[in-house]
């Protein structure tokens, strides 16, 4: 089928002055590429931060005994899952669930003999937790929990513990040191254990590393004198399936009358949410700045190409074309320029993102973290779509004023234009 005449005219007018059109297309494409790279970089930061939080601490969903979310903070031992194995079995039967691992957390005192500190002790199942710490979805990253000294807990460890790097520094602890861990049992009496440091870890969160130690859950249960679990941490195959599994879990709890409640990762990752919000605002401002730069860059080009066709506009108007039809013609040209520039920019953005990701961008540790990382550019359809829409919109916006002026010309004056 033949292209409509108006579209043919618009296309040919764009390529009438090739150098000028090339400059305009370069400006649009450059803006589009900038947005793709900036957006892709932000998305990469979000992804790394999100996955680090999920795999190091939060899991995708945490399951608690009913009432824990409201009152668990003040009376944690009143809201324990008494039969964690049964609930674990039920959750593991759901689609997309990769792993379910129990935890029990409590405040304790950790003493080296010379100094004592209040710590957050986390009783974990080493096998389940190690599986959770593995990250497979991000390039150049394998784990969310790394060890500066020693190694992680294994399934055969009984009295071995892992200590956060900040905590180890504060108490001057080294691998192999013997420590005393003191805490209250579920019943309220005082209990203590001798433990040995097996490894010193660090995560993406400095705060976590400053106060946390990890101990085998069997040891924690022994110390607290309970067989229960406080939290069941659910790990999924993909973070994107969180809401789906959450809904299934809620259904399951209702139909099987399980006295449990749950919270997805995004309701717990406060720092992540605030960071995303902050970056989103920055990206919004960046989008406006780039759109304005594109508009200013191509406004003159579009205005020139319209002014020098003043006589043509007069001729078309003499043929009986109305003002809005003239305006439509030039807006069509602006749209085509934007679409061509947007397509070139999208392809250029893809290529640049691929090249940059191939090399990687060395980054310093983000606020609250202890390690730097190698950033890349994520190829996110939403970012590409946004960049494309902004390119086209900027090109159309640049055409509005010159098109309006052209459409307001007096026919005879336009025809006299030399």
């Amino acid at each position: 089928m033949e292209m409509p005449l108006n579209l043919r005219l618009a296309f040919r007018n764009i390529f009438r002055n090739r150098v000028r059109s090339a400059v305009a297309l370069a400006a649009i494409s450059f803006g589009c590429i900038s947005l793709i790279l900036a957006g892709g970089f932000f998305e990469d930061s979000f992804l790394r931060m999100r996955e680090a939080y999920i795999h190091a601490h939060l899991g995708h969903i945490q399951v608690y005994q009913e009432g824990y979310l409201d009152k668990g903070n003040s009376k944690p031992f009143d809201y324990l899952i008494e039969d964690p194995a049964t609930v674990e079995g039920v959750i593991e039967g759901l689609d997309h669930v990769k792993d379910v691992t129990p935890r029990i957390g409590f405040s304790a005192l950790l003493s080296t003999g010379e100094s004592t500190m209040s710590v957050m002790a986390q009783g974990i199942d080493p096998e389940g937790e190690n599986a959770m710490n593995v990250i497979t979805s991000i390039k150049d990253v394998t784990t969310s929990l790394e060890f500066s000294k020693g190694e992680t807990l294994g399934k055969d460890d009984v009295f071995e513990v892992n200590i956060g790097r900040g905590l180890a520094r504060a108490l001057d602890i080294e691998v192999g040191d013997s420590l005393i861990l003191l805490g209250n049992t579920v019943g309220g009496s005082f209990n203590g254990m001798d433990v040995t440091v097996k490894g010193i870890f660090f995560t993406a969160s400095e705060e976590y590393d400053n106060y946390t130690m990890r101990i085998p859950i069997a040891l924690a249960r022994q110390l607290l004198r309970t067989e229960a679990a406080q939290t069941l941490v659910v790990l999924l195959d993909e973070t994107e399936n969180t809401d789906l599994v959450l809904a299934q879990l809620q259904d399951l709890a209702r139909t099987r009358n399980l006295k449990i409640e749950m919270k997805p990762w995004y309701e717990m990752a406060d720092f992540y949410n605030k960071t995303v919000d902050l970056y989103d605002r920055q990206f919004f401002v960046l989008k406006i700045i780039i759109a304005v730069i594109v508009i200013l860059s191509i406004f003159n080009t579009i205005a020139m190409s319209i002014w020098e066709r003043t006589k043509e506009i007069g001729t078309i108007m003499a043929m009986g074309f109305k003002r809005r039809e003239i305006m439509r013609l030039f807006l069509l040209e602006g749209s085509i320029l934007g679409i061509v520039g947007g397509v070139l920019g999208t392809l250029g953005g893809l290529l640049c993102a691929w090249l940059i990701s191939l090399v990687g961008i060395p980054m310093p540790p983000p606020p609250g973290a202890t390690v730097g990382w190698t950033a890349s550019i994520q190829l996110v359809p939403g970012v590409f779509m946004t960049a494309f829409v902004i390119s086209v919109t900027a090109a159309i916006a640049s055409s509005v004023y010159p098109s309006y002026k052209a459409s307001r010309l007096v026919v005879a004056d336009a025809l006299r234009y030399a």
Partner: protein, 226 residues
């Protein structure tokens, strides 16, 4: 009933402190089927009068009727409709769209008409045949001679089958022989299709074949015999 009737039609141009009275109170009746020339020296107001008659310039005062309908108070869009439905234009500098072929230039004039692709194509080819340019249909203006370009412009004016074609110095940019051929085409169209032609010109050849010559001097019609 006259196809066009101007009464006391005037056009002033305000150039800062100076006002130019380009057309001063002209009375003119143009009857159907006329082949009329507006003649006069440069600056006599013939192009301005032609523009006023063609609804591409708004008069400062006076009235203009087309087929008995007063048009001087109409909006820009209403004037565009009149130009589209009743009028065709031929310009001294041809004013073809350089990025379109001869065929497309003519086709462009039909863009607002609801026609099937075949109907449109047939009408464009008929118009090009009328001016003897069928074999140049795929050529762009830059590939055509001045005479051929002007014939494309005539085909463009003709393709909508307007009642009136206004031509502003149509032969001024053509050599004697080519100009003569272009005029022959216009005369033939006038005779066969009864299309009214109004020229602004100082080409004696046009005045020779024109059914009526209206002389202008200093924006006024010079009475016959002066």
């Amino acid at each position: 009933m006259p196809i066009i009737e101007a009464r006391n039609l005037a056009k002033d141009y305000n150039l800062g402190k100076t006002v130019i009275h380009a057309v001063k109170g002209v009375d003119l009746r143009i009857e159907p089927e006329e082949f009329i020339a507006l003649a006069g020296p440069s600056g006599s107001g013939k192009t301005t009068l032609l523009n006023l008659l063609g609804c591409i310039e708004v008069p400062s005062s006076g009235t203009l009727q087309m087929d008995g309908r007063e048009v001087t108070r109409l909006s820009a869009d209403q004037l565009a409709d009149i130009r589209h439905d009743k009028l065709g234009f031929v310009f001294q500098t041809f004013n073809l769209i350089p990025v379109l072929t001869a065929f497309e230039n003519v086709e462009y004039a039909l863009l607002k008409r609801r026609l099937s692709p075949k109907e449109r194509r047939d009408r464009v080819m008929d118009a090009l045949e009328e001016v003897g340019l069928v074999e140049h249909a795929r050529h762009r203006p830059e590939e055509l001679s001045g005479g051929q370009r002007q014939r494309v412009a005539i085909a463009r004016a003709l393709v909508r089958q307007p009642e009136i074609i206004l031509a502003d110095e149509p032969t001024a940019n053509l050599d004697h022989l080519t100009g003569g051929k272009v005029l022959e085409i216009m005369k033939r169209i006038n005779e066969e299709r009864k299309t009214v032609f109004i020229f602004s010109t100082h080409d004696p050849k046009i005045m020779e074949i024109a059914g009526r010559v209206v002389y202008l001097r200093d924006g006024e019609i010079v009475p016959a015999g002066d």
